[in-house]
């Protein structure tokens, strides 16, 4: 049966204990490394010490994180916590998609990679109709045109563009 303490807890139950424990463990580990990772400078005021703010922040993380764990209405993980942790892990797939996109752009080029990435990811998400494919391609072209051509954001030309004829190369590097 749900207790009064659980009922008053803000947010869902699943995953809370795992998150709080991992957060606290990492905070304690970082605090334990403070002597090694920061310096104490002689003849310098406490507030001007390079170690002062890391100590304050990590101290706060350990103290408040510890109190948060103490105040949680649960002391044991349930299967729902584990399912939730598995779901967090599933988000890694999209982080990999993103990193793949990031690593391919400097090699193949912004426009070509975007033209493949958007429809491919849309297909992976279940949009397989010709209409959605068209929208995906249109969106990819629009993004490149708006950001690289109109706003001129800094995305360097790809390695592949070096193999293009001289006239085309500079156009591709500048606009695509």
């Amino acid at each position: 049966m749900t207790t009064e303490r659980e009922r008053r807890f803000v947010g869902p139950r699943r995953g809370q204990l795992i998150f709080a424990l991992v957060f606290l463990t990492l905070s304690v580990l970082l605090l334990a490394l403070i002597g090694e990772q920061t310096a104490w400078v002689k003849k310098t005021q406490l507030f001007a010490q390079p170690r002062f703010w890391p100590a304050v922040s990590l101290g706060g993380m350990v103290l408040l994180g510890g109190l948060h764990v103490y105040a949680l209405p649960w002391r044991r993980t349930s299967r729902y916590d584990l399912w939730e942790a598995r779901l967090w892990g599933r988000s890694l797939e999209f982080a990999v998609w993103f990193m793949g996109y990031v690593l391919l752009v400097p090699l193949v080029g912004y426009l070509p990679v975007t033209l493949v990435f958007v429809p491919l990811l849309a297909r992976r998400m279940g949009y397989r109709s010709g209409w959605m494919l068209g929208i995906s391609v249109g969106f990819a072209v629009a993004v490149v045109v708006v950001f690289k051509v109109v706003l001129g954001v800094r995305i360097p030309g790809a390695l592949l563009y070096d193999y293009l004829p001289a006239g085309l190369r500079s156009f591709f590097i500048l606009y695509l």
Binding site: F19, V41, A48, A71, S91, A95, W97, F98, I155
Partner: protein
Amino acid sequence: MDLFLSAIDILMRWDVALALLAGSVGGVLIGAIPGVGPAVAIAILLPATFSMDPIVGLTVLLGIYGSSMYGGAIPAILINTPGTAVNALTTYDGYPMTARGEPRRALSLAYSASFFGGVFSVICLILFAPVLAKVAPMFGSREIFLAALLGLLLVVVAHRGQALIAGALACLGIFLNSVGMEPVKYTQRYTFGQDFLSSGVNLIVVVLGLFALSQAFVLLMDEDEKVHLNKLRGGMFQGLRELARHPRVTAVSASFGVLMGMIPGVGEFTAQFMSYTYAQKTSKRPQDFGNGSSEGLIAAETANNAVPAAAMVPLLALGIPGEALTAMMLSVFYVHNVVPGPALFQNDMDFVVALYLALLVLNVLVLVFLLFATRSLVQVVKIPNRFLGVCILTLSFVGVYSLRNSATDCLIAAGFGIFGFILKRLSLPAVPIILGMVLGGIMEVKLRAGMARVKEPLDFINRPISFILFIIIILVLASHLLRVWRDRKELKEAEWQTKTASTSFGQLMSRRKNSFLKDRGKEVRARHSKLLRRLRGLF
């Protein structure tokens, strides 16, 4: 008058006009799409604005900030889903109006109330600017440190029921800001010997991860929802007339918006809550609230739209952002070497007034756009969630990669994206991390400068403003502790009432005796004594 003319002169440029148009239309569109929100859009556009003039870049970002709440009212009223988080209260009275066949009336009322809130706050601030210009120079290092500390404290205590973890996350933000080469003694802090950490953790990378990428992950892992839209009937101008029938609620709500917006860390939610409560308490028909009351809708929409202009006050006057969106805007100032703070009010008052005038024009543009384009605009709520996730992931790349063309930045952003996704799943706030990063940097610099000039710790608060700020900090802390104590007392009482077993000492002892005498109790005691013997044997 000269000030106004020079401010108008700053705005009389084709690129500023274009920025105003793009900001207003773009903001409305972004607000109208549930699941995007201004934070995601501003995070993505931030690096693109670095190549623009400060006034152009800030106008685009302010445009998105100011107009997204207008757009956010559309899905809140039509499909009971707030477009932005601050439109949640709009669903209370907006959707019931749609359900009873008055969607046009609700939309028109929401636009009119938002317009009044926006314009009222800008006018208040233009009139208030000379006073601010006089007060701002009184803020030295100590005062700015205390104001930043107060801002951080308010952000933490505003998360009722989550203050502990919000505080821990704010500390995480301060820690992230301290990573890298320390600028005074040139020592490394938590770089683990890695070169990429020497320059520190970039705020924009964290912002993009926590707001844009995490939202993309949420949408990509979500299910698409079927959206049913009602047909819009009736005139769009009736809201303006109806608004005029409730001048008291409108004026009070706008005032709450301005006041709450100026206090760092408080923002839209408190302003809305106070306005809504006031409107309900003073209404002749309080029973209508939550069932399609026009006063409720006016209170919610007027208050939230009065906040953006007011939120610029601590940012411009003291260089202290009160929430995540203004924290992002601070980086635009820094990139252009424009340092917001007392000096800005003294030296570039025309720039400040130009920003406020831009906000004024923006409100007019948005209202005109919405009055004529709502019918076509409502279609954007039909964009499927997962496809929106694909779009945000693609756009996030531009935001992170264009910053320094670094794959490492993208990896860090992806890491923060997953962290932000976890926070969203657990309903934990990400804003304290961003404010911790921004205000942590300000506090470090100002505390060092402030303490260099004091002999005893109490000298730190020996000036009037620093003393007042210190007293406010103590009051905020005390009131928060009092609230925690009351909540705890209430919880104990509630637990007491729902408890089935008696808690009297005599009965406890008797239950314990019974437990010892039962077979199960004997078994447990035997096991425990066996374990104790083994433990003793070890030594």
